[in-house]
């Protein structure tokens, strides 16, 4: 640390934040020194994003104190946070698409001449200066809607540089950046650091964290698990802290008999999303698709579920070639998809639990022309018990349940259809750790019962934990395929970073 001051730039003390049914933050403390890069680490649902929103003034903590530059403050809203020099760079882009990059960079504080006119000259000059500093190749007057996702991310980052920041929070900033852009970003971070700005860096990627950070704080289940000095620790120690134990694969539920090939893809392509993908899934087996966001995994699932038309290749069920033109076709063939985005794709939030669960088969649960409420309730009860769904009643709107229970409703929805193939996309995103291992065990059990299961995940522990075989993807291509016994973390990391030798499964 270059600064002589011992006051942290930002300090949170014993922060508690609850949502209905969830204790998202449970007495978390956290601090950033000026000129320090402090990594915040935790699995999905560990409370990182909630903590971040508290930092940025978007949430008010129920309990706990916030100190900025030594003085205690209340941060009522994002503007106040910004005024205090705390800037959040969102992972989910929060840009207005039909405005220029410059306007987005200075949103809410456009430079102004008389009569409320925008001072374009100043705006563009300042914005271009920032964009140059970020080594962006687009101009400040480019329309955001016309920019690539990566460039939009750069605009988001540029926003943070407009103020005299005391603390900058980066939330998964590299998720959509190319390697070259990453290098620029890291330079920027180093610059900021040199200027004495405190950096909070949130990421899943160990390599980045170990390159950049000075200290690492780990959250788990909404609770503080410890702070490590980066130079004095290693990935194992961090991982242990993160998941609460070392990866112990022997603990997992044993697989059942592996049966015949149920689903097979041969040379499946949906350019430019993914190309030439081949794999097999057998009954009683879990196949994990592992790769970074955007590697084409979700798109494969969508193709199998009839939501995308492949432009080459074939899909076989039980060895017979099939055409899947719609989700209805997929369902008829016994393919189910638990989608990645639960709230947008998986559930009708205003509907009650029972109705959500029986939605795909509501047309068959009839007596005469009417939906048989009794049949529905009995299905609901059956899967509520089997999946241990916690809800006061089936009448509860699904939006009021916790993430884990919501996910179980979606899984129950498809299990009740008696599918042959179950595709689960990011099964534990946004779910607390307790439910997480429940869902992992559930997936193992399902395989044991003879389902052919595909699990898509960007969390290595998850695939290692649940999959019998792992297909590693990078940039729309299958890089390698591993058996659970032979895989190492290194080889997986290499495969999904495009380093491994491209050998199709």
């Amino acid at each position: 640390m270059t600064e002589t001051t011992t006051q942290p730039a930002l300090r949170l003390q014993d922060i508690v934040k609850t949502f209905p049914g969830v204790r998202a933050l449970d007495g978390v403390s956290f601090e950033v020194m000026p000129g320090e890069v402090h990594a915040l680490l935790g699995e999905n649902g560990a409370g990182k994003s909630t903590l971040m929103k508290v930092l940025a003034g978007m949430y008010q903590p129920d309990e706990g104190l916030i100190f900025i530059g030594g003085g205690q403050v209340r941060v009522a809203n994002p503007m106040e946070a910004k005024a205090q020099g705390i800037v959040l760079i969102h992972q989910e882009l929060s840009l207005a698409p039909e405005m220029s990059a410059a306007e987005n960079i200075y949103l809410g504080e456009l430079p102004c001449k008389s009569f409320g006119r925008v001072d374009w000259k100043a705006l563009y000059a300042r914005s271009n200066a920032i964009l140059e500093r970020l080594r962006c190749r687009f101009r400040a007057d480019a329309l955001v809607a016309d920019l690539s996702i990566a460039n939009q991310q750069m605009v988001e980052i540029a926003r943070a540089l407009t103020v005299d920041a005391r603390v900058v929070i980066f939330d998964e900033p590299t998720a959509s950046l190319t390697d070259a852009e990453k290098v620029v970003l890291f330079d920027i971070i180093t610059d900021l650091k040199a200027q004495g700005v405190g950096i909070v860096y949130i990421s899943h990627r160990m390599d980045e964290i170990f390159t950049l950070s000075d200290r690492i704080t780990v959250l788990r289940d909404g609770a503080y698990r410890g702070t490590l000095t980066t130079a004095e620790t290693d990935e194992d120690a961090v991982t242990r802290l993160m998941i609460g134990r070392s990866l112990d694969l022997s603990q997992r539920v044993a697989a059942g008999e592996v049966g015949e090939v149920v689903l097979e893809a041969r040379g499946l392509s949906c350019a430019p999303l993914y190309e030439d993908v081949s794999f097999q899934v057998r009954a009683g087996e879990v196949v994990g698709f592992y790769g970074l966001v955007g590697a084409g995994r979700t798109e494969i699932a969508e193709t199998l579920f009839g939501l995308r038309t492949p432009n080459a290749g074939t899909i076989l069920i039980d060895g017979k070639e099939v055409t899947i033109g719609s989700p209805q076709d997929a369902i008829r063939l016994g393919i189910s998809l638990v989608p990645e985005n639960r709230k947008e794709q998986g559930l009708v939030l205003g509907m009650n639990c029972r109705d959500n669960m029986t939605l795909p088969q509501v047309g068959d649960l009839t007596t005469g022309p009417f939906v048989s409420g009794g049949a529905e309730v009995s299905i609901f009860d059956q899967y509520r018990d089997r999946l241990a769904i916690k809800t006061p009643s089936w009448r509860q709107p699904v939006g009021f349940l916790s993430g884990g229970n919501q996910q179980k409703i979606v899984i129950g929805k498809w299990l009740s259809m008696q599918p042959r193939v179950l595709i689960v996309d990011e099964p534990t995103r946004g779910i607390d750790v307790g439910s997480k291992s429940e869902i992992h065990n559930l997936i193992r059990q399902l395989a044991g019962q003879g389902y052919a299961v595909i699990v898509i995940s960007s969390e290595m522990p998850e695939v290692l934990h649940v999959a019998d075989r792992i297909v590693a993807m990078y940039h729309g291509r299958v890089m390698r395929s591993f058996n659970a016994g032979e895989v190492t973390e290194d080889s997986l990391v290499q495969a999904i970073s495009g380093i491994g030798n491209g050998k199709a499964a």
């Binding site: 978007m58 809203n77 994002p78 503007m79 910004k82 929060s94 840009l95 207005a96 698409p97 039909e98 405005m99 306007e103 987005n104 949103l107 809410g108 504080e109 456009l110 102004c112 009569f115 409320g116 006119r117 925008v118 374009w120 190749r137 687009f138 480019a142 809607a145 016309d146 920019l147 690539s148 996702i149 990566a150 460039n151 959509s176 190319t178 949906c270 999303l273 798109e299 969508e302 009839g306 939501l307 995308r308 038309t309 719609s326």
Partner: protein, 335 residues
């Protein structure tokens, strides 16, 4: 990863690309050429003057509607607001207290009318802001209610202006431009500048395009929307005043269904109902398109019955084409 700046346009491609962004102007061009060839009286400076005057009514409101719709709101009450403002503009000049003012009695009348428009807009905006009820519903109610106010105020009959100076105003021209057209063009320019050059105008895109981001950036979304409702109230009232100068009178049924035509014009101009997108250049094109179509079909003597069908079909067709042109890759996901 793709970069979008890769396309390097040749010099000839620039107008073409502009047309692709503003397809309505392509349409305006086509119908302009069509009517010029198809009928004798279309291509005539006096006819163009007529078109400008005729479109000014819908056009003025459409300017305001563009702002409101970019915010992601809508205002269905403009037709009724127009009628109430017209009634004030005509009635107030005959009040006894202004009897000695001569032609100046028009001045307080017009001010009253415009204030009424602004006040009604403010009321709509305030309700939308404070209650959080969808603007569609708020202004649907207001559309009925304000029409009721018109009938309460006028007692069901028309008002007329004793003073011919009032209706003479509408016949004035400055150079080749009728004064009504001039006012419309001036307002178009003003709102265009407001939307494209001022902080308030630019913020409109943020409020409609990403409300969450606008709130986080410290834009006061509620008052912002209210100001835009006041602007559309003002423009609807101005439109009512100008219309009443053409009539020298105000009728209680004035402006019925105008909201539908205004929305049609604005949507033709490329503004999205969902907010965040649109501009005055497009709206101006949309307004002209309707004006030219109406005028041209009049001149060609297309029977009135067919005009309804043609206008309705064109609206749907433009919507369809817009969807085809602007189909930003949704990743090919079939939803």
């Amino acid at each position: 990863m793709s970069t979008t700046n890769a396309t390097t346009p040749g010099p000839a491609a620039a107008p073409l690309r502009w047309l692709m962004r503003n397809p309505i102007w392509g349409f305006v061009l086509i119908i302009f050429v069509f009517f010029s060839l198809a009928t004798d009286h279309f291509f005539d400076i006096r006819n163009f003057q007529n078109i400008m005057v005729q479109t000014s009514t819908i056009g003025l409101i459409a300017l305001g509607m563009t702002l409101v719709m970019i915010n992601g709101n809508i205002d269905l009450s403009v037709g009724a607001t127009l009628a109430l403002a017209a009634a004030f503009a005509v009635d107030v000049q005959s009040w006894a207290m202004f009897a000695t003012w001569g032609n100046w009695q028009i001045f307080p009348a017009v001010c009253a009318a415009l204030l009424v428009g602004i006040a009604l807009g403010a009321l709509n905006g305030f309700i939308v802001w404070k209650t959080g009820v969808d603007a569609f519903i708020v202004t649907l109610g207001a559309m009925l209610g304000i029409r009721g106010l018109v009938f309460v105020y006028t007692g069901e009959s028309s008002f007329y202006a004793m003073n011919f100076a009032y209706s003479d105003f509408s016949a004035l021209s400055i150079g080749p431009l009728p004064v009504l057209a001039l006012i419309f063009l001036a307002c178009t320019l003003a709102v265009h500048l407001l939307l494209s050059r001022t902080v308030h105008g630019r913020n409109a895109y943020a409020v409609g395009g990403n409300r969450e981001a606008a709130i986080n950036a410290g834009i006061r979304v509620g008052p912002h929307m209210m100001v835009n409702f006041m602007i559309i109230g003002f423009l609807a009232a101005l439109s009512g005043v100008l219309l009443s100068t053409q009539m020298g009178a105000a009728t209680p049924n004035l402006g019925r269904d105008y909201e539908l035509w205004v929305i049609t014009a604005v949507v033709l101009g490329g503004t999205k109902l969902t907010g965040g997108k649109g501009d005055i250049i497009g709206t101006f094109g949309g307004v002209l398109a309707i004006g030219i179509l109406r005028n041209g079909m009049n001149l060609m003597q297309v029977p009135a019955f067919y005009v309804y069908v043609i206008l309705g079909s064109i609206l749907i067709a433009v919507l369809f084409l817009d969807k085809q042109f602007n189909r930003r890759t949704q990743g090919g996901l079939r939803l």
